[in-house]
């Protein structure tokens, strides 16, 4: 399984780092992309992940009020809320897209979040909800 995590540099990435230093166990299905702020996560990036066949996406940033840039995560919150309702509306399983707030001191929370995300994505996959991109093609396209 492949899950992409967009982590803000100041909180969640540090939180994940702490989880590592503290030798906390969590599933290895997540690939982390460090971003300066969760506000940097353009929804296009999330869509691109799904297009490329990624099974799930996690966006994680500082708790509201703790943003290194004062207010970046407030925008993220609005954007992700909208994106999620849109993805859901198009029938992309809601368990494949997650957002969380993890601070630099929350190593344990990070491990829990990852466990929960992996669990959800695995459940979605096992239930057979198709990945977002697939091999489905429109009629009559290959070579004729």
């Amino acid at each position: 399984m492949k899950i992409v995590g967009f982590l803000c540099n100041w909180c969640s990435y540090a939180g994940a780092d702490l989880a590592g230093i503290s030798r906390l166990q969590y599933p290895a299905d997540i690939r982390i992309i460090r971003v300066p702020c969760s506000g940097r996560v353009n929804p296009m990036l999330i869509l691109k992940c799904f297009q490329k066949g990624i099974d799930g996406v996690l966006v994680s940033g500082c708790h509201p009020g703790d943003c290194h840039y004062q207010e970046g995560n407030y925008y993220t919150r609005r954007r992700m809320l909208m994106l999620r309702s849109l993805l859901d509306y198009f029938g992309i399983d809601r368990r494949r897209f997650h957002v969380s707030w993890v601070s630099a001191s929350e190593g344990v929370k990070w491990a829990d979040v990852v466990k929960k995300v992996v669990e959800d994505v695995r459940a979605a996959t096992e239930e057979g909800t198709r990945k977002v991109t697939g091999t489905e093609q429109i009629d009559h396209d290959r070579g004729n």
């Binding site: 429109i138 009629d139 009559h140 396209d141 290959r142 070579g143 004729n144």
Partner: protein
Amino acid sequence: MGVLKPGSFFSLLKENGLLMESLVLQKNEFTKILKRAMNDHEVIGPREEDGRVYFRPLECMDELIWEFDNTVNNIKDFFFPPRQELYELKEETIVTFENACAKKRIILFARPCDARALKILDKLFLEDYEDRLYKAARDNTTVMGLSCQAPDQRCFCLSLGGSPFGTEGLDVLITAFQNDRLIISLITEKGEDIFKGKGNKAKQEELQSFERVKKKAEESVKREIRIPENLPDQFNSEYWRDVSRACISCGVCTYLCPTCHCFDIVDEENLRIRCWDTCSFNNFTRMASGENPRKNKFERYRQRIYHKFSYYKINFDDFACVGCGRCSSYCPVKMDIVEIVNNAGSSR
């Protein structure tokens, strides 16, 4: 065009409506024949989806629609599809899909105008560098036309050399009559093969009534496109700015056009794909450097008109338009190509 092959002289005559053999079939017999053909052919025909009629592969003959105005898409889609996988490009090898083109197909109820467009596209895709996939699709497809007995008020096929009963590009032309009778005009050998030993030869009076409905249909095509002789001289005219103002630079007119053939080649992962593209789009001619020779809307609109009515004529001796009227009926802002072309010659 090459040398005339023995026997092709007759098919040439037939294609021009001479020496054509005509059969009479009952509708249910026809359906039976096609049902049988479905075993070893993919059958494509007009089918309804949410109130509009499209050409689509048919799952059964009941889906087939017998009476319809011009369809949304046209049969070009099955020779030059919106998205076509060309081959797979891997690090060290190239994988092609040979077998896919071998599928035998029948297209039912193509309108004569759409079928005529195939003849126009043939010149582009088969002359000079021959296009393998297009060729294979052409070779393996039998096109059965349905004569157009009630042309739309937007149609102008006659003024471009077509006809609601035209046979160019068709293998068979089907004309529906009262009492569920069909007159089947056999145009090519491909068409004859399917109806071999079926139906009765058309009687004199049946042929006469065929001529009558044909004449009636032709008379009802009232619109006329008159391509100005001096069109090439109008290239730098202000006219193009004026008429293209309303254009929103979308691709409706070109994508629904039976003769528009511009395409793009893109990579999706390892697949190399050919997909439709259109001169209406701003990025059609934009180069990587940012340079764009047709960055203004009027230049793009002018390109479309000139490509159809001037350049294609110069290069391939045919206008790239069959007068189906789709571009004006589906245009989001109802730009009317006939009016625009007809008035182009008298502009400043």
